[in-house]
C-alpha cells in the first residue's frame, strides 16, 4: 500500500516502529499531487520540494485551506483581490500544528472567501470531485476534501461557516468536523462571518479527526471568542459502543428535497447504531425552515463588513479606472473591488450591505439575529432530552459542475442541514455512510450540544467501526 493512502494515525504507528519517516510520507504525498492533481485541482499552491522531516509528536504533513495565514506564505482565499498577499504572522492553528510537528504541505482550493458550496467560485478555477470528475467536490473547503479523498493529502484543515467542512467531506466521502464555536481559535483564519466561522479537520477517518481536533483546539488569548474550556483527549472518547445514548432524528430534516438514496442510507445508519445500543427518538427543531434565510442574512452582513478591508490600500491588488468617476481615492476603492471580487463575492457583499443599511437593519439583520435565537433555543431544548442528533449532511450527493452556478438560491438551499449547527454554535461531524448508485458518497451528520465533541466522536466512531464505507478508496 502507498504511504499517502494511509491515515495519520496509521502512519504515526509506522513512524514509531521506524518503518517509515515523515520525509518519506511527505515525498509520497507530493508525488501523488504531481501525478493526479492536474485532474482534481485540489491545490492552488503545491510545495516544489518535499519539506524536511519535522520533529514533534505528530509529524505528518497536512494540506491547508487557502484562508489560513502562514507567515511569509501567500494566502488569497482564492480571490483575485488578495493576490500576492503574504501575511507576516501565523494563524494560531498553524502555530499549534507546527508545535506538534504537523507540517503544512500545500494550500487547497476553495470558493472565494468561502462563499459557496461547490468550490466553483475560485479565482483559480474549480476543483473536481475525485469520485467523479464531472461533479463538484462541495464547498467551500472543496480543495481540502478532494485532496484527502484523492490521497493527495493525509489530512487537511478546512473552515466551516455554514457547512463548508461537512458538505465537501460528505461529497468526497471523507470525515469533516465543525467544532463547537469557540473551540478552535479563529486568529489567522481570514474571516467570512465571524460569529459562525470555525476551523476544523478533514480526514480519512474519525480517529484522525479526533487526533487533529485535539491538536488545534483550545483557548487562545488572541481570540476573545475562543472558549476557556479544557480540551479533553478526544482519542479517549473513541469507543465502539453507543449503549444508552439517546439520539434524536429531527422530523423537519426529513422532508421534500432529500434524495431517496440519502433517505435510505439514514435508515441503514439507524439500524447500525440501534444494534450498538442507541435509542432513537423522533424530535422537532421547529424553526429549521428559517435557518437558510437567517444564515444568509447574518453571514452576508458580517461578510460585507469583514471584506471591507480589501480596498487596495495595504495589500493585494490595486486598480484604477481608465476614466475618473468620483474622487481618485473612491475610484481606486471601487475599481479595485470591482475587479478583485468575483460574482458570488459581490452578490454576498451587496446582500449583506443591504441587510445592514439604513431602513433595512431591523427588518433583516436584527430579525435574523432574533430568529437565530429561536433556532438556538430549539437545539438547547432538544439537548435536554437527547445526547446527539443525526441527519444527512446534504440532501443530495455531489451535483455536477455548473449545475447550480446560475441559481444562487438553490445553491444556498443545499446547505440546509449544515447551517443550523453554525447558527447555534454546536459541534457537528460528517462521515461517510454510503454511496449512491452512481458511486457518489453520502454523508452522515452527527450533532451534539456545545463542547460535547466526545459524544459526537463516540457516535461517529461506533458507526464507522461497524461499517466499511470509510475503507472504500477512490480509483484515480
Amino acid at each position: 500500500m502507498n504511504l499517502n493512502e494511509l491515515t495519520a494515525h496509521e502512519l504515526l504507528d509506522l513512524i514509531k516502529e521506524k518503518k517509515t519517516s515523515t520525509a518519506e510520507v511527505s515525498q509520497a504525498v507530493v508525488k501523488k499531487i504531481q501525478a493526479t492533481d492536474g485532474r482534481i485541482h485540489a491545490f492552488v499552491r503545491t510545495p516544489a520540494i518535499p519539506v524536511s522531516a519535522n520533529s514533534g509528536a505528530y509529524s505528518i504533513p497536512i494540506a491547508i485551506k487557502d484562508n489560513l495565514c502562514i507567515a511569509g506564505e501567500e494566502v488569497t482565499c482564492c480571490s483575485q483581490i488578495l493576490k500576492g498577499f503574504r501575511p507576516p504572522y501565523d494563524a494560531t492553528v498553524i502555530n499549534k500544528l507546527k508545535a506538534s510537528g504537523v507540517v503544512p504541505l500545500g494550500t487547497t482550493n476553495m470558493d472565494e472567501f468561502a462563499f459557496g458550496s461547490s468550490t466553483e467560485n475560485s479565482c483559480y478555477g474549480p476543483t473536481r470531485n475525485p469520485w467523479n470528475l464531472d461533479c463538484v467536490p462541495g464547498g467551500s473547503s472543496g480543495g481540502s476534501a478532494a485532496a484527502v479523498a484523492a490521497h493527495e493529502a493525509i489530512w487537511a484543515l478546512g473552515s466551516d461557516t455554514g457547512g463548508s467542512i461537512r458538505q465537501p467531506a460528505a461529497f468526497c466521502g471523507v470525515v469533516g468536523v465543525k467544532p463547537t464555536y469557540g473551540r478552535v481559535s479563529r486568529y489567522g483564519l481570514i474571516a467570512f462571518a465571524s460569529s459562525l466561522d470555525q476551523i476544523g479537520p478533514i480526514t480519512k477517518d474519525v480517529t484522525d479527526a479526533a487526533l487533529l481536533l485535539k491538536i488545534i483546539a483550545g483557548y487562545d488569548e488572541m481570540d476573545s471568542t475562543s472558549a476557556n474550556v479544557a480540551v479533553p483527549d478526544y482519542l479517549q472518547a473513541l469507543k465502539n459502543d453507543v449503549q444508552g445514548l439517546k439520539i434524536g432524528i429531527p422530523k423537519e430534516f426529513f422532508v421534500d428535497g432529500m434524495d431517496a438514496e440519502v433517505k435510505e442510507s439514514m435508515s441503514a445508519v439507524i439500524a447500525v447504531l440501534e444494534k450498538k445500543g442507541a435509542k432513537f427518538i423522533e424530535m422537532s427543531l421547529p424553526h429549521t425552515e428559517y435557518s437558510v434565510a437567517t444564515y444568509y442574512i447574518v453571514a452576508t452582513a458580517e461578510a460585507s463588513s469583514n471584506l471591507a478591508r480589501y480596498d487596495g490600500v495595504q495589500y493585494g491588488i490595486r486598480r484604477h479606472p481608465s476614466q475618473a468617476r468620483r474622487t481618485p481615492m473612491i475610484d481606486m476603492f471601487e475599481e479595485t473591488r470591482d475587479q478583485g471580487f468575483g460574482r458570488e463575492a459581490k452578490r454576498r457583499i451587496m446582500l449583506g450591505t443591504y441587510c445592514l443599511s439604513s431602513g433595512y437593519y431591523d427588518a433583516y439583520y436584527l430579525r435574523g439575529q432574533k430568529v437565530r435565537t429561536l433556532i438556538k433555543q430549539d437545539f438547547d431544548q432538544a439537548f435536554k432530552e437527547i445526547d446527539a442528533i443525526i441527519a444527512p449532511t446534504s440532501p443530495t450527493t455531489a451535483f455536477r459542475l455548473g449545475e447550480k452556478t446560475n441559481d444562487p438560491l438553490s445553491m444556498y438551499l443545499s446547505d440546509i442541514y449544515t447551517i443550523s449547527a453554525n447558527l447555534s454554535g454546536i459541534p457537528a461531524i460528517s462521515l461517510p455512510c454510503g454511496f449512491s448508485k452512481t458511486g457518489m458518497p453520502i454523508g452522515l451528520q452527527v450533532m451534539t450540544k456545545p463542547f460535547a465533541e466526545e459524544t459526537m466522536f463516540r457516535v461517529a466512531y461506533t458507526y464507522e467501526q461497524n461499517t466499511e464505507w470509510h475503507k472504500r478508496k477512490v480509483n484515480l
Binding site: 458580517e302 463588513s305 490600500v313 495595504q314
Partner: protein, 483 residues
Amino acid sequence: MSTTVEKQFETVIGLEVHLQFHTKTKIFCGCANDFGRDPNSHTCPVCLGLPGTLPVLNKVALQYAVKVGLALNCKINPYIKFDRKNYYYPDLPKGYQISQYDLPIAQHGFLMIPTESGPKKIGIFRAHMEEDAGKLIHDGQTQSSLVDYNRTGTPLLEIVSDPDLRSPQEAYDYLQTLKLILQYLDVSDCDMEKGSLRCDANVSLRRCGEKEFGTKAEVKNMNSFRAVKAALEYEELRQSKMILSGERVVQETRLWSEEKGMTFSMRSKEEAHDYRYFPEPDLVPFTLTEKNIDDVRRTLPELPQEKFQRLQSQYEISAYDTQIIIQDPALAAFLEECVAVGGVAVKKVCNWIIGPLQQETNTRKVKFDQLKLAPKNLMDLISKVEGGVVSNLVGKDILKMILDSGKTAEQIIQENGLAQVSDDGTLDKVIDEIISQSDSVVQQIKEGKESALGFLVGQVMKKTQGKANPKKAGELIRRRLSP
C-alpha cells in the same frame, strides 16, 4: 458677539470631544501607544487590520473610560458591547471602526462650568469608547496621499455634551473645565496640539424664546480651545447673517481655517452617511457589576471642584489663589505638603508657589512636577526670608539655585555667603561711611522726609551687595540721626 445676535438669537452649542487615553498599549493590540515615531513603525497585524486578525480589549482602557464616566457624574452601563461603524477611508484599515453604538460605557452625566451668573450645569449626553484611525499626509506635489497607521488603534473616548452651551465663551469654559478634570484623572495628555484631545462643535441659532433648535452646522479642525471659541464666534455671525437675510442654514460639516479665521463647507464629505452599525462579533460583551464600578470609584482622585472648595475652606486662601493652585494637581499637592511641613503662614506659601515657583516652571518650560523640589526645601527657604536671614530678592535667586543644584537653602546660603548682614557692628561701619558722604540726604531726613530714608537704605544695600537686612539698616540709620 454682534449686537444683532445678542438681541435676536440664542446660540445653541454641543461639543464632541475625542480623548486619547495614554495607556501603555493600544486599545485592541499590544503595540506601544506611542505614535509620534517613524511612520508605520508602531503597528502589528491586529491594528493594521490584516486579514484573519482579531481584537482583544485593553483592560486599562476600559478602566479609564469608567473613571472618566464617573468623574463626569455619568451612569455607567452595567452591560456594554462594541459595534462596527462601517465606512471607507484610507486611514481606516479594516473599512470599519470599532466603536460603541447603542450601549456606550457612560451616559447621562454633567459637569459644572463657571459663568458670570454662577456655576452652570452642562449635561453629558454620553461617552463611548472607540479606536483611533491612522494619519493621512497630503502630498500636493505628487497628487497622492501617504498613510501612517501608527495612530491606528489608540484608545479613544468620545465625550458628547448635551446642547446646553449658549455661547462660545461657555464652550471655551466647558473645555477648560473638562480638560482639568481629565488631567486630574491622569488618563490622557489632553494636548490639543498633539491631537490627544480633539473637539468638534455643533452650533445652531434660534430666535430668542423659541423652543425648536435651528439647523446646525458641525465645525471641525480646531486645534486649540481658543480656535474653538473663534470658530463658534464666526459661525454665530455667519448663521445670523444668513437668517437675517432670509437664507436657509444648511446642515453640513464645516472646517475651521486658522489662517483665514473662517469656516468652510466641506463639500466632499456631504455624502449621505449610512454607517451600517452592527454588534462587533469579534469582541464579547462586557459586564460591569456595582462592585467593579465601586472599585474604580475608589481610585478617583479628588476632583478640581472638590479640591477648590476644600483648599479654600481648609487653608483660608483666596478664591483667586485657589483657582490658580488647582490648575495643576501637582501644584495643589505640593502646597499641601508644604503646609504639612509647617512653620510659615499658608498665604506666604501660596505666594511663593504662585509667584516665583510658577515663574520658574514657565521659564524652564517644564511641568511643575518636573522641578523635583522638596517641600521641606522650599519651606526652609521661605522661613529664612521671613526670618530676615536673606532678602526676598536673594531668596528668589536661592530658589533658582535650589532648582539647579538640588542643594538646600542652608547649603547655598553658606557656600555663597548670602546671609543678610544684621549685626550692628558691621552695619554701623557701613552706615557711618554712607552718612558721611550724604549730607544733603541726611538733612532731608532730619527735616522729616521719610522717603529719603529709603534712599540711604538703598545705598547700604548696594554697599553690602544686597546682604544687609534692610529693616535692620533702616532702624540703625534712624537711631543714628535721631536727635
